[in-house]
């Protein structure tokens, strides 16, 4: 039984997180002494380049599921096609990246095979011959070791950034590319996806900002925002925000940093009253220096912070603004 990594592509471009899932697959393959196969899904034409690219990465084989009904993603189409593949191939483990798409269909796929799915794992190891997965609980405040209770196939998705895609190596002769048959009927696909689109154009480009002062729900009330804006002004910084702050309409959506907002990489990122949920971290962990101010010393934001201040932002922010103003 092999390890099957399901890669994600959209319109001929990979979702980069899939390489991290492949890296996790290779790592587990070594630890469990199992071959690693990689699957991708798409329409009947246009997958050749992706197949060839994947075949170069030392996988045992590439399984390319092509069907006219798989061109546009639907949870029904993807779950049905992958179920057929898994029933035939009988893998020990099915690995995916924890993308929005995987959230949408992987639980359904696993359930349709009466199997459990350990989602969003940040690590894995082998204990007594069996895989043990590390997950975060309580939005990153705790970790847990989790194991499957039933039999294989085991379904697992990996969190963004948890495995190193840059450690993947191209190996030897390219893997064989197979096109397993997929039987799908239009009537089996119950949802109809329409065009993808972006909301109104952005007027701020946080991606090019050198310094970002980001504010989270710890700010409590929009009336407190001027304090943060003053600090940003003193630093010549842009103001960024966590999602709840934008959801509440306290700051415009275009200032949101994270998986559903902008990805930023300033030289200095100051996080004020932000807990550090993974969806926020993926948007800012490329920052060179991270400062976190949070009243909770166990907030996960401190895991990525170079400098941490445990305390109330209402005390720290005015003091910091004053210090900057008087030093310049």
């Amino acid at each position: 039984m092999s390890i099957l990594v399901v890669m994600e592509q959209q319109g001929g471009a990979w979702n980069k997180m899939s390489w991290e899932a492949l890296a996790a697959g290779v790592e587990l393959g070594k630890a469990l002494d199992r071959p690693v196969a990689a699957a991708l899904l798409g329409s009947e034409t246009g997958l050749e380049a992706l197949e060839a690219e994947l075949a170069a990465y030392g996988v045992e084989r590439v399984l390319s599921l092509r069907h006219s009904l798989l061109g546009e993603y639907t949870p029904d189409g993807y779950a049905l096609a992958l179920r057929q593949l898994i029933q035939r191939a009988g893998p020990l483990l099915v690995l995916l990246a924890h993308t929005y798409q995987a959230r949408d269909f992987a639980p359904k796929l696993a359930a349709s095979l009466d199997r459990a799915f350990i989602s969003d794992v940040v690590g894995c190891r082998v204990d007594d011959g069996g895989p043990v997965f590390v997950r975060q609980l309580f939005q990153g405040k705790m970790n847990a070791d989790v194991v499957f209770a039933g039999g294989p196939p085991y379904f697992v998705s990996v969190q963004a950034g948890a495995f190193r895609a840059d450690r993947l190596e191209k190996g030897g002769a390219p893997a064989p590319i197979e096109h397993p048959s997929v039987s799908l009927d239009a009537a089996q696909i119950r949802t109809r996806p329409l065009e993808r689109f972006q909301e109104a154009k952005r007027t701020v480009d946080l991606a090019t900002a050198e310094i970002i002062v980001a504010v989270g729900r710890g700010i409590k009330d929009p009336a407190n925002l001027p304090m943060v804006e003053k600090l940003a002004q003193a630093l010549g910084a842009e103001v960024g925000a966590s999602r709840p702050v934008c959801d509440s309409g306290w700051l415009p959506l275009e200032r949101q940093v994270g998986s559903s907002g902008q990805t930023v990489a300033p030289k200095l990122y100051i996080a004020l009253g932000i807990s550090g949920a993974i969806q926020h971290l993926v948007g800012m962990k490329g920052s060179r220096t991270v400062v976190a101010v949070n009243k909770d010393s166990s907030a996960p934001i401190f895991e990525v912070a170079d400098y941490g201040i445990v305390g109330s932002l209402f005390d720290i922010v005015p003091a910091l603004t004053e210090a900057i103003q008087s030093s310049s």
């Binding site: 929005y100 959230r103 359930a111 709840p244």
Partner: protein
């Protein structure tokens, strides 16, 4: 429209969490609890759809005895009745097992729409809704930011990564996993709280529903995460900390 809203009760946000003696969960005796945040948005969306199109909102919660207060809160906000699948084990069960219990209760209702939150703030699997859709044989969509009723079905706005969206259409009955921020949630009024006392809250056990709670995955150990980065913690009164930080940013990190 007959709308089912699934709720979970979780430790209140900003709780100070302590690991229990068995290192298998957190010490619940120290905690206060609230409705899982994404579920509050699912409830609000259900109430709005009912106000617009008529029908009924039924709240279903699988949880320990304490979770009855979450259902009461939902009734106070305007849900019509509640079903509490009660078992202490449901406090921290995996999504598959929880979804099986929910499905058993929901099957008995002839629903048009099932709404769940996208994920829970405690376990965070983000699976229960999607598994539930599979078990109920209904189409679904997740990370939903808008719901419109149309002739013969619904049209929903699904969030994709990095600021992209997509509309998806589907027939009813269907299931939607709602994303936080889709709407502005309401507070319960005094009147609502009074009225809630007279509303039906049915308790059932998993056994009565014919489901066993045998877990599909097991938490072996809970522990504090290890830091991947060396954080320098700066201490002292605000003025002093601010000065220290400024020094560090200028002369150590050299980013100012």
């Amino acid at each position: 429209m007959k709308i089912i809203v699934c709720l979970k009760q979780v430790p209140a946000r900003d709780s100070v969490l302590r690991i229990d003696d068995a290192q298998a969960w957190v010490r619940e005796t120290d905690l206060s609890f609230e409705i899982n945040e994404p579920d509050t948005y699912a409830l609000e969306e259900g109430l709005r759809l009912k106000e617009k199109h008529g029908g009924e909102v039924v709240v279903v919660c699988a949880g320990p005895a304490r979770a009855a207060s979450a259902i009461r809160e939902a009734l106070a906000k305007g849900a019509d009745r509640g079903i509490h699948i009660e078992d202490e084990a449901l406090a921290r069960l995996d999504s598959f097992t929880t979804a099986r219990a929910l499905a058993a209760a929901i099957r008995a209702e002839s629903f048009d729409l099932v709404l769940t939150g996208l994920q829970s703030d405690d376990l965070g699997f983000s699976q229960t809704g999607v598994i539930l859709a599979e078990l109920l044989g209904a189409p679904h969509a997740t990370i939903i930011m808008e719901v419109q009723k149309m002739e013969g079905g619904i049209k929903v706005k699904r969030e994709l990564e990095a600021g992209w969206f997509q509309y998806v259409e589907m027939p009813l009955p269907a299931l939607l996993a709602i994303q936080s921020g889709i709407n502005k949630v309401r507070y319960a009024t005094l009147m609502g709280i009074k009225k809630a006392k007279t509303k039906e809250l049915k308790r059932v056990t998993p056994a009565e529903l014919g489901v066993d709670l045998k877990p599909r995955q097991i938490i072996r150990r809970v522990y504090a995460p290890q830091k991947s980065k060396q954080t320098q913690f700066l201490e002292g009164p605000p003025k002093e900390v601010a000065a220290k930080l400024l020094e560090k940013l200028k002369f150590e990190a050299r980013v100012l």
